[in-house]
Amino acid sequence: MAVEVEKVLPPAKAAVQETGGLQDSRDCVRCGACMSSCPLYALTGRETAVARGKLQLLSFWKEGHLASVDRLREILSFCLLCGACADKCAVGLKVPELVKEARARIHREQGLVWHPELLLARLTWQAPHLIPRVAPLAPLINRLKSWVGQDSGLMWRLFPHLNQALAGFPDLALRPFSFQAPRWLPGRGSLKIAFFVGCGLEALFPRAGMAFLAVCQRLGIEVIIPPGQGCCGLMAESVGERDLALAQTRRLVQQFSALPVDYVVSACASCAFQLKRVANLLSDTAEEKAARRLAAKVREASEFLRHEAAYHPGYRPAAVKVVFHDPCHLHRGQGIEQEPRELLREAKGESGEAAEKTCCGLGGAFGVLFPDLSRRLGDRRLQALRDTGAEVVATSCSGCLVQLARIKSPLKVVHFLELIA
């Protein structure tokens, strides 16, 4: 008699579970299983890199054993928030949520201290104003950026950190998404959506957004693109800028929750992840109900095209082999793995499959704070993707796109929507 294997159900896609605060760090049973999957532990071999160390240290701090939080803050910033540890956690701790919560607590306690990741978060707050204003200067900025990010030379010696962060960074788009896209796309059917753009698509990858609109147009889906959209707030929340994240979330809820649409779609896996969590951030506030309404409508682009729009791209055989890189915020954060693969397979034929779904190594602010290690992780990831025999990497998160594109490799890196439109 054979065993009937029940398929392990992926977590609910529309809603992302949240845990109740830092108390959970005490639930770590110290088994150490997280060591088997943490990419930073694999790289450094240090217990401070891995979830067990961080969670133990958090308990140690909360019991009042640490004189200052400075070192603890550094240790906590050394985390990609990729969630690979949570996959292995025997007691099911949602480690990335705990790390974010702890970062916010420390930030509150420490007050306003200069940290590069905080500047980054502030920049995202200004994104809706900044990007259109900067756009005319894009050619200049791009030249400046490639000069700072040169392989050798003076800039490397003067600012190795900045140089590493910027080398190979994708160019600012000469025409941001909002310059190209209409504010409203008329539909032919009953399906009506709002499109959340996000900083990455707006400033760096407008082609992906345009590709999505092209599909919607073909399918007769009505699309509203509210003007003056902000950042999803993930960066601010990740670095511990809780207040800023809350402000961003509130703005999103105001802008999107009352729209008369069936779905709110984002073509960036990380933005979609964060939008699905707005109600968790605003729990116990006046906006909670509206946030819940919005969260329930949020879909990531591949999820939307597959399940709500029943999209089947026509088969256009590719001369090159494509491999899909899973963003952590997509497969772990939202349980979405098959949707983009199915779309790619229909459009481009069989695609390659990397052995493991490891993080690209950007990890939000991690890529800026630890550019060297971030690059090494990116190198490994690209190598693994290359080993599949693929020549093109498709993915769906702006962060992964930045990371995989800024590292030198023969692989071409594109947003998957560009291949299936």
């Binding site: 065993v3 294997v5 240090r46």
Partner: protein, 464 residues
């Protein structure tokens, strides 16, 4: 407490990039997989036997404790620096030096992850059988130092049965080789065996010669559910006497099943009180016959449900679920006393019955699972440390368990080791003369008691 000058000297030996001094970082090496914690004064990651030797010489001169540590996944507190001092983390020494298919031998450094070694052996068509539950993240050095076991011990034995030779840095600083790289070898005392399970009290293991075996061609996995717990325990004896040579024979009680139900690849009916998981290795055809016979045997012994994994992936998920048990037990209560007693095979049904009796008497949940095929049972006494009554009851339960085990001619620890957790109970198993002899042995190796002090031996005034 380590003086700053001594600290500086140690750091100079390993290099400052391989030393941790901040309290935050040191704390991350204060614990293992138990709930015991003690802060080290310094944490270093040596890169060679020579560096370790120099550190140990310093330790003798300045009398500070040195505690070797692998991945910190021990279940007895063996690597917890209970008296402070220097924690010697061996994870940097993680090279697989040689896998020799002609000699059927692997030579490794102690920091190699056990799972990595198993994979490397597999690539050569070979097999390193010992498989502790933490194989994916524990180190082989830790396995040797604790004499780690695992599920396939029924057929293949434990770590001890695969160690042919060792290179050890003695507590006094000399670097010595013992054993050989041959299957046989009787020259001099068998000190290899002495270092096995010595829990870092006799020296630092820096190089390990391991025996490998040809990789079995196929493996089948069965699961058999019993409505009667003792029938399950009896079936274990019947299978072992049947001549069908199981590779692994795991036992889980009802409480265990409740913990891992969500990760089991098949539904387990409510009425099932005990589950056996059985693996059979060998040639594909012959394995199928043996597995079928075993399934029949289980049914005859009263199994209400007998399942056979249909492919390797399914079998893998079964064993993954088995490995998930130990941490999953914490769903029941926040704390546990995890004992890994072993009794002679025939005494297993008695032990299972007595554990149930203890659980009832002490009104504490006790989760029982383990390697029934070798008589090694994991008895997890679940309690809440913050509740005084439960804490006392848990301690009484441990004492009663050990008394039962000794009456059944068993041993207090099958594979975890003594460490700190079981040190107070050593006298229950070893006679005063034996403990005195072992203390003399320890003193002969380590006259200044610098190597992992406070472990194994019951706390006593003279401390050695």
């Amino acid at each position: 407490m380590l003086s700053e000058t001594v600290s500086g000297e140690i750091i100079r030996i390993v290099g400052s990039e391989n030393a941790l001094t901040s309290p935050e970082e040191r704390f991350c090496y204060a614990y293992d997989a138990t709930d015991l914690t003690a802060m080290p004064d310094l944490v270093v990651f040596p890169g060679s036997a020579e560096e370790i030797s120099q550190i140990l010489e310093l330790a003798n001169r300045h009398r500070f404790p040195v505690v070797p540590r692998g991945a910190g996944t021990g279940r007895a507190g063996g690597s917890v620096p209970i008296r402070g001092g220097v924690v010697l983390v061996l994870t940097r020494m993680n090279r697989i030096l040689e896998i020799n298919a002609a000699d059927l031998v692997a030579v490794v450094e102690p920091g190699v992850i056990t799972g990595h070694l198993k994979k490397a052996a597999e690539e050569h068509g070979l097999y390193y059988p010992p498989d502790p539950g933490s194989a994916d993240y524990c180190t082989i050095g830790g396995n040797v130092a604790t004499g780690a076991g695992g599920a396939v011990a029924v057929q293949y034995g434990v770590t001890r049965d695969y160690v042919l030779g060792l290179t050890v840095v003695l507590p006094t600083g000399e670097i010595v080789d013992c054993g050989s790289r041959t299957m046989k070898g009787v020259v001099g005392y068998d000190l290899t065996r002495l270092f096995l399970g010595s829990e870092g009290t006799l020296g630092v293991i820096v190089r390990i010669v391991l025996r490998l075996v040809p990789r079995p061609e196929s493996r089948q996995t069965l699961a058999a559910g019993f409505a009667d717990l003792e029938a399950a325990a009896r079936a274990v004896g019947q299978i072992l006497q049947s001549g069908l040579t199981p590779t692994a024979l795991e036992f889980m009680d009802r409480a265990t099943l409740d913990c891992i139900r969500p990760v089991l690849p098949f539904p387990v009916p409510e009425g099932i009180q005990g589950l056996l998981m059985i693996a059979v290795d060998g040639q594909p055809k012959e394995v199928a016959t043996r597995a079928a016979k075993m399934a029949r045997l289980c049914r005859e012994a009263g199994a209400r449900l007998v399942l056979r994994a249909k492919d390797a992936t399914e079998a893998d998920r079964l064993w993954q679920a088995r490995r998930a048990i130990s941490p999953a037990t914490f769903k029941v209560k926040p704390h546990k006393i995890a004992e890994d007693v072993a009794v002679p095979l025939s005494a297993l049904p008695r032990l299972v019955a007595e554990v149930q009796e203890i659980a009832r008497r002490r009104a504490l949940p006790i989760i029982c699972f383990g390697h029934a095929g070798d008589g090694n049972l994991h008895v997890n006494i679940m309690y809440d440390r913050t509740v005084e009554q439960e804490r006392l009851a848990a301690r009484r339960a441990v004492e009663e368990l050990f008394t039962s085990v000794r009456r059944l001619c068993g041993t207090l620890s099958g594979e975890h080791g003594v460490g700190l957790a079981k040190a107070p109970y050593l006298g229950l198993e070893l006679s005063p003369a034996m403990i005195a002899l072992q203390r003399r042995l320890k003193r002969a190796f380590d006259p200044n008691n610098i190597m992992n002090p406070g472990k194994i031996f019951p706390p006593s005034p003279d401390q050695i």
